[in-house]
């Protein structure tokens, strides 16, 4: 259940950010979560609901975009979707491949209320 600790880090980071920018009311927080991060979106949303209580983010939604796992083969320079966590190039069978996407855990946008 590391989602609760992650939710806490999200809230701390966003509170810092809105303080810096002078934003007072946030409607939604957009988050990209890579497939390799072992995050359960529902658990993270639950953690977020708990973590925002009593803060300026109370009531804000967490909008999660899941980022699929992709990789590139240095041998044949093909990029591909990694299926079922098999980190093997589907073209040449190379196992020494580089992950391109799937390790994300970042806040990508804030939806703010202009009338507040």
């Amino acid at each position: 259940m590391h989602e609760l600790a992650m939710a806490d880090s999200i809230v701390t980071g966003v509170l810092e950010e809105i303080g810096r920018r002078g934003i007072t009311r946030v409607l939604a927080v957009g988050l990209e979560v890579g497939e390799l991060m072992d995050v359960v979106p529902d658990s993270l949303k639950f953690g977020f609901e708990v973590a925002v209580r009593g803060t300026e983010l109370a009531g804000a939604r967490l909008e999660i975009t899941e980022v699929p796992l992709t990789a590139e083969c240095p041998g044949c320079t093909q990029s591909f979707r990694v299926e079922k966590y098999l980190f093997v190039c589907p073209i040449c069978g190379n196992r020494d491949i580089n992950v391109l996407t799937g390790k994300e855990l970042r806040v990508t946008f804030l939806e703010i209320d202009d009338d507040a």
């Binding site: 259940m1 590391h2 600790a5 992650m6 880090s9 999200i10 701390t12 980071g13 966003v14 950010e17 920018r21 934003i23 409607l27 957009g30 988050l31 390799l36 991060m37 072992d38 995050v39 966590y85 098999l86 980190f87 093997v88 190379n94 196992r95 020494d96 491949i97 992950v99 855990l105 970042r106 806040v107 990508t108 946008f109 804030l110 939806e111 703010i112 209320d113 202009d114």
Partner: protein, 220 residues
């Protein structure tokens, strides 16, 4: 309603502290390993054996994480010779960089060659938290089944070495050394693999050689 675009890594604070730890270890040429496994795979037993066998050879430090109790740290202090500190997470399922930094606050960096971080027994949560280590070492034991890598790919992808422990019990289980190897290498083609038994002592020399080589490389 306005959308403000951002690019803010959630674990940036953890990663910043981890980078500090990594710099400190590298400045002192200390090899730092983060040991991860399920509960009961034998992390503490492996460390006990290692401290006893290499104590005259390498100067070792160790921080041992547990959800409750300092039992592991106590066992490791009893193994003698090493600098040992416990981290009791009080419920948290993983160590983060700040906990490790706090535990390391009085570490004798100038007198160490090798630092072990024994993580909380858990193959999911510790995988996303960088602790400033050079490498993650993942342990599994033959009694857990040979599909562990396929079930917890994130951890095996991020590890540099997989140790298969309890080989003395392999005959009593359905564990297949070929299957675990195939499963692990399909997730991480760069993974080193060692087999050993802390109980019988088989294969421990291979682990000690692996450690000595990596310590030497860090010092070079």
């Amino acid at each position: 309603m306005t959308k403000v675009q951002l690019e803010k890594n959630v674990l940036s604070e953890n990663d910043r502290v981890a980078a500090d730890i990594r710099r400190q270890m590298t400045d002192h040429r200390i090899l730092c390993l983060n040991l991860v496994s399920s509960p009961g795979s034998g992390k503490t037993s492996l460390l006990e054996k290692t401290l006893a066998a290499l104590g005259g050879d390498l100067r070792m430090g160790l921080v041992a994480g547990d959800v409750q109790t300092e039992n592991d740290a106590d066992r490791l202090k009893a193994a003698g010779g090493a600098w040992v500190r416990p981290i009791v997470t009080g419920g948290a399922c993983h160590l983060d960089a700040r906990m490790v930094q706090k535990a390391l606050s009085d570490a004798p960096f100038e007198k160490l060659d090798l630092m072990f971080i024994e993580n909380v027994g858990n193959l999911v949560c510790p995988s996303s938290y960088d602790l400033g280590e050079d490498m993650k070492v993942v342990l599994i034991s033959t009694t857990e089944g040979d599909d562990k890598p396929s079930k917890y790919p994130g951890m095996f992808r991020r590890s540099s070495l997989m140790i298969v422990n309890k080989t003395d019990l392999m005959a009593y289980t359905d564990f297949s050394r070929d299957k675990v190897r195939d499963n692990a290498l399909a997730i991480n083609g760069r993974l080193d693999i060692l087999e050993l038994s802390c109980r019988s002592g088989d294969g421990l020399d291979g682990w000690y050689d692996w450690l000595r080589d990596r310590v030497r490389a860090k010092k070079a």
